[in-house]
Symmetry: C2
Subunit: 338 residues, 2 copies
Amino acid sequence: MLSERRLQVLRAIVQDYVGTEEPVGSKALTERHSLGVSPATVRNDMAALEDEGYIAQPHTSAGRIPTDKGYRLFVDKLAGVKPMTAPERRAIQNFLEGAVDLDDVVARTVRLLAQLTRQVAVVQYPSLTRSTVRHVELLSLAPARLMLVLITDTGRVEQRVVDCPAPFGEASLADLRARLNSRVANRRFADVPSLVEDLAEAFEHEDRGTVSMVLSTLLETLVEENEERLMIGGTANLTRFGHDFPLVIRPVLEALEEQVVLLKLLGEAKDPGVTVRIGHENAHEGLNSTSVVSVGYGSGGEAVAKLGVVGPTRMDYPGTMGAVRAVARYVGQILAES
Amino acid sequence: MLSERRLQVLRAIVQDYVGTEEPVGSKALTERHSLGVSPATVRNDMAALEDEGYIAQPHTSAGRIPTDKGYRLFVDKLAGVKPMTAPERRAIQNFLEGAVDLDDVVARTVRLLAQLTRQVAVVQYPSLTRSTVRHVELLSLAPARLMLVLITDTGRVEQRVVDCPAPFGEASLADLRARLNSRVANRRFADVPSLVEDLAEAFEHEDRGTVSMVLSTLLETLVEENEERLMIGGTANLTRFGHDFPLVIRPVLEALEEQVVLLKLLGEAKDPGVTVRIGHENAHEGLNSTSVVSVGYGSGGEAVAKLGVVGPTRMDYPGTMGAVRAVARYVGQILAES
DNA sequence: TGCTGGCACTCGCACGCGCAGAGTGCCAGG
DNA sequence: CCTGGCACTCTGCGCGTGCGAGTGCCAGCA
């Protein structure tokens, strides 16, 4: 077990390294933090921390830098979440309140997060599967062609074109529209399948093909996880990553373009609070030298989607976590109001 | 006026520089291209080309590299558009045909362009103002709250919430919906304002407030240029930009995040064919060392939006122009079919 | 037992130097 | 107008050197 002072030494190393971006040595440490002991003592502590794998030295006779394990300990035990200041809170709220629709909310959130944390921001659109249905609309495009429009309580809209096996009259259309809405309006997406399964039976034989095709399209739309959209921003902040550019930044850019990867990344965050994944804790290889700070947000008590930032493992964790948490909270409020 | 051979020298310089990414000297030129003259002659030609501002040398006694003006001449006079090969065409078509909806078409187009050109791809969603209306839908969310959904012939859907000054009955709603659609369905967006201006007069006095509010919301939605969305991809290709990374890449990333900038960029392309803007020809400062190759695409004969790529001025212009043109053509086809 | 000062040692890095190689401009001759 | 030759000018690279930061270890002290 590490003594109290050694933990302080680790904390000091992390803070200094995050600040200066350079390996930190024993002498500099004692000068900048009043630890009350001499450099020699700190050296012993450092040797111990290195044995335990919390810090490492890039080359012999250079200062130490924290390892992923070191950051992990720092985040878990040594640092809290730094709350936003009052002016910052006001700025967040003002900025988000100007949004006109869902796209705008998400876009503003991304900008905001990127600016606050000076890192790459990722915001997932409110997920379909955890939302409720506000309305289902059916439009006739051609005699045997319908458009299905699904509107969620979070303001999201999905549409699909349905090619019918047989022409479908206006009366049947109105009937189906009414029945559908009476069954599913204000219900959770997860419940929809069981609510509509016997709906085709209420129709004439000739219409059943079309009805069941509409229903299956609807269910597809609900389930389709590919459709989990997200928005990213602040990629220009990647330039502040480090000196050894292209090699580090390239896989990150690639990962950011793979929506699947990002969604999985955000999805891994299970806790109710802010989740931090550091370096190699990220499954995706390209992100092995980055950390991901994420959190769920939602209009009610429940989280409907995630948002977060991606940055170098050498990041200001308390500040970033504070910003992410605050933004999530305010976005939730905005969504609840609209 | 430049002699034929000097133009050939310029062409050779551009080709070699694009290939090797290194300043090209007189000797290397004569070896790799059979110009039929000696290096000394080429040197004279180069001196002339440099006087005219078509090429420059990074430092004394290094090879030459093309200037923006040199690339311009190359694109205008010395190089054609390299057509795609048959297998490439097939691949493009196959890849795009799998798309399920408009978002998917755009997403696939971006990926495709980025892959083909190995550069950053930008695709604008089919613009509202040049499309036609397929359908307008009105839904009642609450007694005094409506949702307006606008569906375009290109499959794009826009929605707006309208807070009414007074409750609006189901009958009025159906009436308004029917009248609206009979007037604007299949009409061009540009024509809509004049088609609906007197619509409020057909309603009872108590409903007029709501109707005119719906109409103005509709018009706003049509006009709103902020809503011109676009999608970008292939940013990982920025890593292939050059050696002096961060300084060049940062402003580009920043520009790419400014939708306004990008839209303006694409908007500048006026020709019916492929447009190329080289280096300083781009108004935006951050893009002074990039070239933009763009073209309009559309479902019918008319262009409804633009797409293009952003890359280093040192790019394979014929190939890039060919890829951009081909992709635009096939996207147009796909949109026309759906 | 744990902290401290001292000391020798190890590297990485910046600096200066010299050298090779590529490329140029110019000139005289065909 | 083209060509071969020649002198010149850079850049980039490899090498050796000195400096400084930082370490590990050890003996002494509370």
